[in-house]
Amino acid sequence: MHRLEFKKVYKRFGEKVIAVNNANFFVDEGEFVTLLGPSGCGKTTTLRLIAGLDRTSEGEILINDKIINALSPSERDIAMVFQSYALYPHMNVFENIAIPLQVRKMSKSDVKTRVGSIAQMLGISTLLDRKPRELSGGQRQRVAIGRALVREPNLFLLDEPLANLDAILRHRMRGELKALFHSVDGTTIYVTHDQEEALAMSDKIVVMNYGVIQQIGAPEEIYKRPVNKFVAVFVGNPQINIIEAKNAEDMSKLFSSSKVNALEKLTHDGKVEIGIRPENIVLGKGNIFGKVTLIEPMGANLLVSVETALNSEKIKVKLFISNTVKISEGDDVNFSIKESELLFFLNEKRVDVEG
């Protein structure tokens, strides 16, 4: 199994675009690490740098403490699942999966057994004679994964492998993939723009934006203790509520005086952005009053938008309640906030606040 390390890696395209901007991270043996970020933030480029398909502009990439910048893709002992799957259209499923073994001059019979067992594992044994164009999206994806798995590489790279699937299949494959890559020994780097996928599957998440790594951490840490507003907003569905408090009066409407005092010390002018995840707002039994403006049923829960007035302006927050509660738009309600779960952002960065 491989350990991977990025040391001060930059990737520029031309003068203007910096697709990867000073990336430093470490992936340990057997870890399942996700690169997460909005489209265009440099995830694919990072993966391509690892694969050797693009050259770094600066910095070093190490596998098992050896610098591999100059190695060609075929020398790196990695497998990659492309976003488009990149199945060879002129070869059938068997040949597609067998290619990495044939290139390595494995004997015919060995190839046959290996491909057979991989196909079995992925449930595509009956498709081996088909050409890629005769497969459904989900089947193609399995073939692409089969091609990656078959030679038991030490490092797997997956570029948004679920992005081209429909919603139901995507959910099912999420679970299957996780199980699969935990069962085969191998370090996995997984790219997605879907934060739910990242949270559900990873040991560790690397959040990127505009080529810059924002945060590296376990899913729970990313979710609960985002380092900045970008990460807080990007991760979590529905999005975190961001409330802009302009002064101490605004704040005192929302939480206790000890917190307000601590905050005032930090901000001087009392301006702060407050992040509240919807699940941390409790309807009823509270001393904040507002009016329901919108109800969005989400199956078991209702997502309720509530408008309330701070000192200087009106704000809107979203919160969850069970769908058994009787509520309708226009109702007057009250709510409270779990103060311990609040996030505070000064100049986009999260700050810890005592009290």
Partner: protein, 275 residues
Amino acid sequence: MRLKRFLLYVGVTIMAFYCLFPIYFLVLDSIEPTSVSYSSPPILYPVAFTFSNYIGVFENIPLLTYIKNSTIVSLSATAIVVLIGSMAAFAVAKIKFRGSNPFMNFLLILGFFPAATMIFPLYEMFANFHLLNNYLSLILPYTSVSIPLTVWILATYFEQIPTALYEAARVDGMSRFQAFYKIILPLGIPAVSTVAILNFIACWNEFILALTFMTKENMRTITVGISMISGRFSYQYPWGEIIAGALLVTVPLVIIIFIAQEKIISGLTAGAIKG
């Protein structure tokens, strides 16, 4: 609407006539006995029929030798240029080496220089190497002049093959050359066959180099052979036989056209419009 249809069919008839009427007169002449074809003024419709010109052309003209020579030269040059041209096209389209754009533009410009501007140095070169009246003296320059079109059409086509396939091949452990002949070349077969056909026709039809480098009767190619016949009969051109020969050697080309017209048209448009 009616009128438009009518005009359309008038136009279609004119077009068919435009392409075919010279051929009609040629066919007519080739099947007429000498007594009829040399009548002046000419008779523009069939009055007598004979095969004698078609027999005579094989007896009086070494037509089969010409065909053999043209075939050897055209096939060899086509095979070589497709091989080396597809490699270069691959480097341009998939390795995208630095300077591939200037390289392509250079090829394009090179393709514009007529053979006349380089014919004497080539002649001198082949004379020095004793290669005149040798197939190589045509195969080698034919290969060279076919390079621009070949590389352009193939590179354009290869570029449309998703780069992810090439990259997947590299990640799967293939060298560049393996990725070329196992993935890109098989996927490029449609374009490869198109350029093969176009190049074959172009070599088959070439004239000025063949005229200059093949001076011995038994080394001549079709185009030179047929069009130079006249010189040997001082008393009267054997028009019937010449035209019979011309029509005969056109048959293979027409067959190729019938089989591969879609490919030819697509190749021509790629070559002309893209270029």
